[in-house]
């Protein structure tokens, strides 16, 4: 539960609106000017306040790893990130204070002009997929079927790891693949480079590699 100021505003506005509603339902006043103004507040302004502040609080909540991990098919991902001993790439991005608690969202969101909107639409699709296709599946049945929809773009990594620092540019593998990295032809998160991002799912998706 979040005790943020936003949540308080949202809940207080809702409480005040409900008081107006109950007053109207119980007392059944005539539709005078006063009644109209009260209803304008109770049906219009106060709920709108709850909706907008609640929206912001909702968007914030949806970014957290806890939120992502609350559908059962995502628990292994969340557990791996929470495991301090894990050496998976996602887990190594889960310990910093800046975005560690929101690491899933940080890597798996679109950036660019309409990034927030397209990410939200993608999230809605996830909720739909989960509700109608994955909810009934056990973890063992579901994991092999869960794939990334579009190859993970290097630009997401490059947003934070600029590829322009001298130390970075002194790494042999970075130099030899620089053009390919920037052109997105070689994934930063591929095995042999910095992947797999989620080692356990990689093992499920590519059993042959692991058997080697």
């Amino acid at each position: 539960m979040s005790a943020s100021p936003l949540a308080l505003v949202a809940i207080s506005a809702a409480g005040a609106a409900v008081l107006v509603m109950v007053w109207f339902l119980v007392r059944r006043p005539a539709l005078t000017r006063t009644t109209k103004v009260a209803l304008l507040a109770g049906i219009g302004i106060l709920p709108l306040t709850t909706a907008t502040t609640g929206n912001v609080a909702g968007y914030e909540a949806m970014k957290t790893r806890r939120f992502c991990g609350s559908c059962h098919v995502m628990t292994p991902y969340a557990l791996d990130s929470a495991d301090l001993a894990s050496e998976g790439l996602a887990a190594r991005h889960a310990r910093n204070e800046a975005f560690g608690d929101e690491n899933c969202y940080t890597c798996h969101s679109d950036y660019g002009m309409f990034g927030t909107v397209t990410t939200k639409l993608g999230g809605l699709r996830h909720a739909y997929e989960y509700t109608f296709n994955f909810r009934q599946l056990s973890l063992e049945e579901a994991l092999p079927k869960i794939h990334i929809r579009q190859p993970f773009p290097n630009s997401t990594c490059i947003r934070c790891h600029s590829t322009k620092n001298p130390l970075w540019l002194r790494v042999g593998d970075h130099v030899s693949t620089l053009d390919e990295i920037r052109a997105n032809r070689t994934s930063c998160a591929s095995v042999g480079c910095h992947g797999a991002a989620h080692p356990f799912s990689h093992a499920i998706h590519h059993p042959a590699e692991v058997a080697k």
């Binding site: 539960m1 979040s2 949540a7 949202a10 809940i11 809702a14 609106a17 409900v18 509603m21 109207f24 339902l25 059944r28 539709l31 109209k36 209803l39 304008l40 109770g42 049906i43 219009g44 709920p47 709108l48 709850t50 909706a51 609640g54 929206n55 609080a57 909702g58 909540a61 949806m62 957290t64 939120f67 609350s70 559908c71 909720a127 989960y130």
Partner: protein, 64 residues
């Protein structure tokens, strides 16, 4: 007319309940419900209110 407003009040209460639930328990089901059904019902209720008030004001103005 007042009946319609009472319906709007009940819809608003349901909508607010969904929104508050999503704030207290920000997990997928309540958050999705609040942002779809909750906001939908709230908008509907406000629509009913506006409709009623407009009708009321029209009724009161002298006939042309």
């Amino acid at each position: 007319m007042n009946r319609r407003l009472r319906v709007a009040c009940v819809l608003t209460i349901i909508a607010l309940g969904l929104m508050v639930w999503s704030i207290l328990a920000p997990t997928p089901l309540p958050v999705m419900l609040a942002m779809t059904v909750g906001q939908g019902l709230g908008t509907l209720a406000f629509g009913l209110f506006v409709w009623t008030v407009v009708q009321d004001l029209r009724g009161k103005s002298p006939p042309p």
